[in-house]
Symmetry: C2
Subunit: 333 residues, 2 copies
Amino acid sequence: MIVTVAIDCMGGDHGPSITVRAAIDFVRKHEDVRAILVGLEDKIRPFLENQSAGRISVRHASEVVAMDEPPAMALRSKKDSSMRVAINLVKEGEADACVSAGNTGALMAISRFVLKMLPGIDRPAICAILPTAKGHSHVLDLGANVDCTPEHLLQFGIMGASLVSAIEHKDRPTVGILNIGSEDIKGNDVVKRAAELLKESGLNFVGNVEGDGIYKGQAEVIVCDGFVGNVALKASEGLAQMLASFLRQEFSRNLLTKIVALIAMPVLKNFKKRVDHRRYNGATLIGLKGIVVKSHGSADVFSFTNALERAAEEARTGVLARITERVALQQPQ
Amino acid sequence: MIVTVAIDCMGGDHGPSITVRAAIDFVRKHEDVRAILVGLEDKIRPFLENQSAGRISVRHASEVVAMDEPPAMALRSKKDSSMRVAINLVKEGEADACVSAGNTGALMAISRFVLKMLPGIDRPAICAILPTAKGHSHVLDLGANVDCTPEHLLQFGIMGASLVSAIEHKDRPTVGILNIGSEDIKGNDVVKRAAELLKESGLNFVGNVEGDGIYKGQAEVIVCDGFVGNVALKASEGLAQMLASFLRQEFSRNLLTKIVALIAMPVLKNFKKRVDHRRYNGATLIGLKGIVVKSHGSADVFSFTNALERAAEEARTGVLARITERVALQQPQ
């Protein structure tokens, strides 16, 4: 089986200089993949060098969605944007998945409009991987939905569990719900009711997970509404950046600490590698009738390649079919 | 002016072995303070050694609220708990503030029942200090309220700003609202409406702050509902613990890395000191007719002393009067 990934080459802070290079690495690394590079052809070609790799093709798209463009505007007025054309390729079956580092709101709006939702799913969610003391966990929603009903949270649980069981070949991944206490009585009404639904769902539900439980790896899938999830994710990013910058400052304080830094470099590098967020790049817009992966806007080649690999793996392992089957089980007969 | 702090000596994971020692340090360090040690007298005395410090007294209380006791139970059935007696001392004017490392829910329930709310404030909030790239910020609510109206969030803003202007002698501290985007249109309805109220409030409102903005120090006071705040705080704690443990693991991997660790020790110590959460111990239960400070349950002597100092400083600088004045300004004339 060949997996074809459509790449919005114009998205992200750096455009084709990153996305095209990552596509080349991706195709070189995996024999079973093809890449369709979507965007302004004259911006893409220079980065293709003399690639005669038969598995890379270019699809011209005349418009670009700006990083700060209102999603509704991007949806209505840019019918030939690289983002939209890439999503269309998925819709029409020419690609098995698409990846963009562009404007998240626009990617969500256009994906939802073009691809529509899977049967039984009301809302798409953003699902990303976070590193934990035990490995990593999948957390959703990270910002697509600011208000969720208990039923939405149940659907997120089903989608997350289906995703993990597919791409990580796990039978019944553990599912937890993000809450502010470990007891059943904690939390707001939506979360309490969602916990009841998850308990009755047949999923491997482990109950409430507190904020620190995410990083303790208390569940393989953690469900939350998009407001809470987004704040938790960004607070974590902000804290990690602050700690890294404090560490740098301490090691560059004077000549002596700089020498110490040189000596400690290999250890610090191993540490850095272990918590390198680039390894986890690629959030899935889950719930759609098509695989759409969002890369961080500031992704570098290594990071963007990881997002491409995530998209390909979801296509290979049939995540969408698995979600559809699992949701059908949930429907009243 | 002498400031008297009532200390629930039985609360926390370690009880008097920590709380009494911290009280001794606190009184030695500050000439203007007195401490009333509340709890089981025979458990407290042994740690008082031969302290003849005239500024420490013991008040026997026959019961102890357990760390996992349901708040309603603690409130109804333990009228002579160390926690309740300490709060009563504030109510009766014998103490200017009280500090407990005990059960948060019980402390909140008993404080609210005994002390009541300040005029114009509907709900108490938990306000703590977080370190930022620029220094530190005050964030509230961190878990007292799982559902907030826009008016509650406005009150949190007023209380937070009054607190900071008192204890940090700042005229108009900046106030931000935690949200999932920096644009006005982002967020759920409650947050959007709260932002409008804050804009009209006369506070020095700087608008939306995203999760990472907390640690960038984008506002001196950051307002959020207790669910979001609690998740963000605990996720941060969990991430910091995970990173610290990864760093330790890398430095203790083999003999060579252990030698490197010895060499890097002074630098790592400076780093650790800079982000030491013990320095920020002590969350204020704000909005009550009395000063109540909650210490981390696992606090050590240094950490608990900081909570005592925070309580004393709030009493010295008249935080309650300042909140009351500021709220009065807000009321329709």
